[in-house]
Structures are given as structure tokens and as C-alpha cells.
């Protein structure tokens, strides 16, 4: 049963949409008939301060109600957070890192070390900030980061993700924002680089 459970930990700064992304992935998984949880760090959120979000996706009902100790995937929305111990906490050589950065995977790799300086997992790098500025007109890296996450892990399907964005964003934000987000997701999905 444990192998069917994917645990994703999101790291961002307050205002970058880490919580929204964590919950959006959980919602899409649910739409696909799977079991999921999406939740923010339990506590206050402050603009610019480091925050975490969590997503669990599974084929079986999820009973855990705690933060993710040993993530299968770590998504980093802001590369200035790299170097903080919380980013690599509980990660090992199997952990997948999806990082929003202008740097190449090879350059990031040196900065990302687990406990005892051991290298951690597989790196996927994408410049989600630039993509969001191009496609949405402002630095909002969360939706393109979901695109990169889906490419790296296939935790949900890209078509279900796009359908969900269409459904949720249309009434609230209008057609232009929906198109921008879908383009941002598609670009990140295509452009993400791995080490």
C-alpha cells in the first residue's frame, strides 16, 4: 500500500501560491477518482516568509494527518530557499526535486545536499518565474510548477489538470487568465530540464 502513496512537499514564500498549488494537485487527483489530501503548513502565513504546502495522492484512502516527513517529491517555488535545511529534510537518493530556477540542474546540484553532505535525488529545473511573467504578466510560479511536477512524476494527468484549471479559473478570473495559465503549464511541462 505504501508504494501507491505519493507524498509531495512544496516550499515557497508566502504569496507565491504554494498552498493553492498543493490543493490544486489534490483536487485534480480526486477528479481522476483517486484519494488525495492538500494542505498548507499549519499556522500563520506571511508574505515573503518561507512556507510549506503538502499534497498526498494515493490509490487507497489516506488516513495520515501530519506533515510529510519523507517526501517522494520536493517542489521548490523559490530558489533562494535552497540551502535551508528544511528543503532537503527527509529526502534521500530517490527523492525527486522540481525547482523553479534560472540555473541549470548541474549548477543547482552542488547546492542541494542532504544530511551529511550526501547528494539527493533527481533534479528537474524550470524557470517558472519567467514563464509566468511571459504568460500571465506577473511572477506567479505556482501553476507552471505544477506543469513541471506532472512531467517529472505523472502524479496526475496533464489533461485533467488543464480541464480543472479551465473549470475553476474561468468563472473567477476569466478567459485570458485561463489561457495564460494553461500556456504556462504546457510550456513548463515541455521546457523542464533534468540532470
Amino acid at each position: 500500500m505504501a508504494s501507491e502513496l505519493i507524498e509531495i512537499r512544496w516550499h515557497g514564500r508566502g504569496g507565491q501560491g504554494a498552498k493553492t498549488a498543493a490543493q490544486l494537485v489534490a483536487q485534480v487527483a480526486l477528479e481522476e477518482g483517486r484519494f488525495s489530501q492538500g494542505f498548507p503548513e499549519y499556522g500563520p502565513e506571511r508574505m515573503g516568509a518561507p512556507i510549506r504546502g503538502f499534497t498526498r495522492v494515493s490509490d487507497a484512502p489516506i488516513r495520515l494527518h501530519c506533515a510529510i516527513e519523507r517526501p517522494d517529491v520536493v517542489v521548490v517555488l523559490d530558489d533562494t530557499l535552497i540551502g535551508m535545511p528544511s528543503i532537503t529534510e527527509g529526502a534521500d537518493h530517490k527523492t525527486i526535486f522540481v525547482i523553479n530556477t534560472m540555473l541549470a540542474a548541474s549548477e543547482i546540484g552542488d547546492k542541494l545536499k542532504g544530511a551529511g553532505g550526501k547528494p539527493v535525488g533527481t533534479l528537474y529545473c524550470i524557470d517558472a518565474t519567467t514563464i509566468s511573467i511571459d504568460e500571465l504578466g506577473r511572477p506567479m510560479p505556482n501553476t507552471p510548477m505544477i506543469g513541471a511536477l506532472v512531467k517529472a512524476t505523472a502524479c496526475i494527468s496533464i489533461s485533467a489538470l488543464k480541464k480543472d484549471i479551465q473549470k475553476k479559473f474561468l468563472a473567477k478570473f476569466g478567459e485570458r487568465v485561463v489561457r495564460g495559465n494553461i500556456r504556462a503549464i504546457e510550456r513548463a511541462y515541455e521546457e523542464v530540464q533534468t540532470s
Binding site: 500500500m1 490543493q23 489534490a26 483536487q27 480526486l30 484519494f35 488525495s36 489530501q37 492538500g38 494542505f39 498548507p40 499549519y42 499556522g43 500563520p44 489516506i62 488516513r63 495520515l64 494527518h65 501530519c66 506533515a67 516527513e69
Partner: protein
């Protein structure tokens, strides 16, 4: 199976209130409850329900408004957390002793000082003896289901007590999970029309609400609450069964998990029970027969049934997410122990105060400690903390 929709615990509470369509809701915000009544207020605004929404200026006023509305015979709700619950405590005791079946989701949060917004059960435990039924929820699904059932339980003519539906702040209130809903039609049919026995505004049958009872009958009023609580034990089970026939999700006073052959067990309230089930599964993979007793109804307290369910278990950890100063061990521990009839080794664990996380590995350690105690037969009454940063 019905479609599961993504809802946080707060959303699930609001959805249940919407599906029931109560007559009156008194609303005042406090973290982490705010989103629950915010969401419900939007249903009132959009005309999805015809509830009379009263925006009050404090929780003391919220419970006072509930008292007034319920006295008039209205089906009445409010919701709160932490300091809010403590501020309304004075009126909570009056609501209960006046036998007004108000329904109130309590989004459990630590109480000050120091200021903290994380989850623990100190707030609802503070009102342990206020005469409210207290039902605790493991997840968002249980929040929805329990809020719907709470109306039937509290309004039962032989109960007539207010009901707190307790959900863990942030851990449940802010976690999005899949929830199956029964919808307004089924929910309203399940709860039925509320027909209050007495109505303050019924001029054809005038009554006095809140009169003075001195040495003559005050004592008897209190004794009658005891009887109502005893009846509630039966009603909670009956309503839980009927809800099970409707939805396939049956509820009782507590839920045993892998207890039948357990050598060691954890008893707890709320979201921790889910994590404890995972820890029990993992302990069993390593050859330790572990189980969990998830207590749903803390008031009324099903002490005899708990003792019976744990009779064959060698060592039991009672987990409290609250603390009782001056008496080692939390409130749940002492109540479980007061029904223990020898046999099991009982250990009190206080954990998670102020929202400190509790993980499956923490709870696997608890199971391992229980196994060691069971071997050594060390006597009960031991008091421990989980995850304390002092040693």
C-alpha cells in the same frame, strides 16, 4: 459510491450546515474557524439557505444570540475556536442547563498564553463539564456526517442538549480531502423539522425562560442533565446506525481498529486516530499486534464500553492533546483509568500541544514502549510526553 468532492474540514462543516438549513446562525470570526462560517455566510447571501444570520460583536454575544434564538424554538448554530469558546463559556453552561439543542462546530485550537493558533484540545476540554455533548472527528468526511447527525442527537426529546462537533484546527479544518455529501434533500429529510417543546414567543402557551431556582429545584435541574447525557449514549448510537443505513457510513460512540487480537493499543481523539491507524499497520508489519480505539463521543463518556473493548489488551497508551495542571496525565487518561478494572497497563501520553505535529514514527515509538511495558509488567499511572523539546 457517491462522488467525492474536495473539501477542507471547514468547508465540510459549512456544507453540512447548508444542507440542514438551520433557522438561525450567530457568526463571529476566529482562526482557524473563520472560513467555516465565512463559507456558510456566503450560502446565506446567495439565498441557498434561508437561515437568519446574526453578525455579533463577540463570542459571548454569539452564544447569547444562540440562547435567545433556541429559546424561541429556532434550530440554531454557531461555530468557534479557542479563546472564542472560552469567552462564550459562561453562556455555554446556560445553554446546556436550559436544555437548548444548539449545534456548534468547535475547530480545536490551543488557548493562550503564549498566543498560539495551532491545534490542541485545550479549548473543548475547558468546557468538559459544561453539559455539552462532545463528538470528535478524524477527517473532513466525519465533520460533514457528524454535523448532520448532531441535530438529531441534540434535538431528541429525551436528550435536548447542545452538541459540539470538534475538529482539529488546521490539521482537519484546512486540509482538503475528498468528501461524500448526501445533499440538502437527504440531509433535511434525515434531520426532519425541529419542533421545540417550548417556545419563548408562543403567546398561546406562555413560558418563563431562565427563572431563579434556589435550594428548591436547582439540584434537580442538574441531575436531569446527567440523565439526558446518559440517554444521549443510546441516541448517538441509534442516530449513527440510521445514518449508516442512509450512507453506508455507520457511526457509534467509538471506533475500534484492529483491536480484536491487539496486545497493545492507543486510544485518542480526532485526527491523530488516522495517523495512529497507519502506525498500527506498520507495527503489525513488524510483528507487534497493535490496535487503535478512536473515541468519538467524549461527552457522554462511554467508560464501560471502552473498558470492555480494551479488556484483553496488555498495554494501552491514552493520548491527550491537552493537559491538566497539578494532576499527572491528561483528562482522557484519567477518565479511561477510572473505568479500568485491572489488567491492562495504562500509560498517559500528552502530545501535540499548540499544534506540534504527531507522526506515524512518533506513534510507532509509543507502540514499541507499550510492548516493552507489557513484557516487564510495569504498573500503570505512568505519565509521558511525546515530542517535548526539553528532556
Amino acid at each position: 459510491m457517491n462522488k467525492r468532492v474536495p473539501l477542507t474540514g471547514n468547508d465540510a462543516g459549512a456544507e453540512a450546515l447548508k444542507d440542514v438549513n438551520p433557522d438561525v446562525a450567530a457568526v463571529f470570526p476566529i482562526t482557524p474557524q473563520t472560513e467555516l462560517m465565512h463559507q456558510f455566510a456566503s450560502y446565506v447571501h446567495d439565498g441557498v439557505v434561508d437561515t437568519e444570520l446574526i453578525l455579533v460583536e463577540s463570542e459571548h454575544s454569539a452564544q447569547s444570540a444562540c440562547f435567545g434564538a433556541a429559546s424561541a424554538g429556532a434550530r440554531t448554530v454557531t461555530a468557534t475556536s479557542s479563546q472564542g469558546l472560552l469567552l462564550m463559556a459562561e453562556i455555554c453552561a446556560i445553554t446546556a442547563a436550559t436544555r437548548l439543542p444548539v449545534v456548534m462546530p468547535v475547530v480545536n485550537r490551543a488557548i493562550s498564553a503564549p498566543v498560539n493558533i495551532g491545534c490542541d484540545h485545550s479549548d473543548s476540554m475547558f468546557l468538559r463539564d459544561a453539559g455539552w455533548i462532545q463528538l470528535y472527528c478524524e477527517n473532513s468526511q466525519e465533520v460533514y456526517d457528524t454535523v448532520v447527525q448532531a441535530f438529531r442527537i441534540g434535538e431528541h426529546k429525551d436528550v435536548l442538549l447542545p452538541v459540539m462537533v470538534c475538529l482539529d484546527g488546521f490539521i482537519i479544518s484546512h486540509t482538503m480531502e475528498g468528501v461524500e455529501l448526501i445533499g440538502p434533500e437527504a440531509a433535511r429529510q434525515f434531520v426532519g423539522e425541529y419542533d421545540a417543546a417550548f417556545r419563548l414567543l408562543d403567546t398561546a402557551k406562555p413560558i418563563t425562560v431562565g427563572p431563579l431556582h434556589l435550594t428548591d429545584y436547582y439540584f434537580e435541574c442538574k441531575r436531569q442533565v446527567v440523565e439526558a447525557m446518559a440517554t444521549a449514549r443510546r441516541v448517538i448510537v441509534e442516530v449513527g446506525k440510521e445514518y449508516g443505513r442512509l450512507t453506508g457510513r455507520e457511526y457509534a460512540l467509538f471506533e475500534p481498529y484492529r483491536l480484536d487480537d491487539a496486545e497493545v493499543a492507543i486510544i485518542a481523539l480526532g485526527s491523530t486516530c488516522g495517523t495512529a491507524k497507519v502506525a498500527a499497520d506498520r507495527a503489525r508489519e513488524k510483528g507487534l499486534r497493535a490496535g487503535v480505539l478512536k473515541l468519538r463521543s467524549f461527552r457522554p463518556f462511554p467508560g464501560e464500553e471502552i473498558a470492555e473493548a480494551l479488556r484483553h489488551v496488555g498495554a494501552v497508551a491514552v493520548l491527550d492533546r491537552s493537559i491538566s495542571y497539578g494532576l499527572p496525565g491528561g483528562p482522557l487518561f484519567h477518565e479511561v483509568r477510572s473505568f479500568a478494572n485491572g489488567g491492562a497497563v495504562l500509560v498517559s501520553y500528552v502530545y501535540g500541544l499548540g499544534g506540534r505535529d504527531i507522526t506515524p514514527s512518533d506513534l510507532q515509538c509509543v507502540f514499541a514502549e507499550l510492548a516493552a511495558r507489557r513484557q516487564s509488567g510495569e504498573s500503570d499511572g505512568v505519565f509521558r510526553y511525546i515530542g517535548l523539546r526539553e528532556s
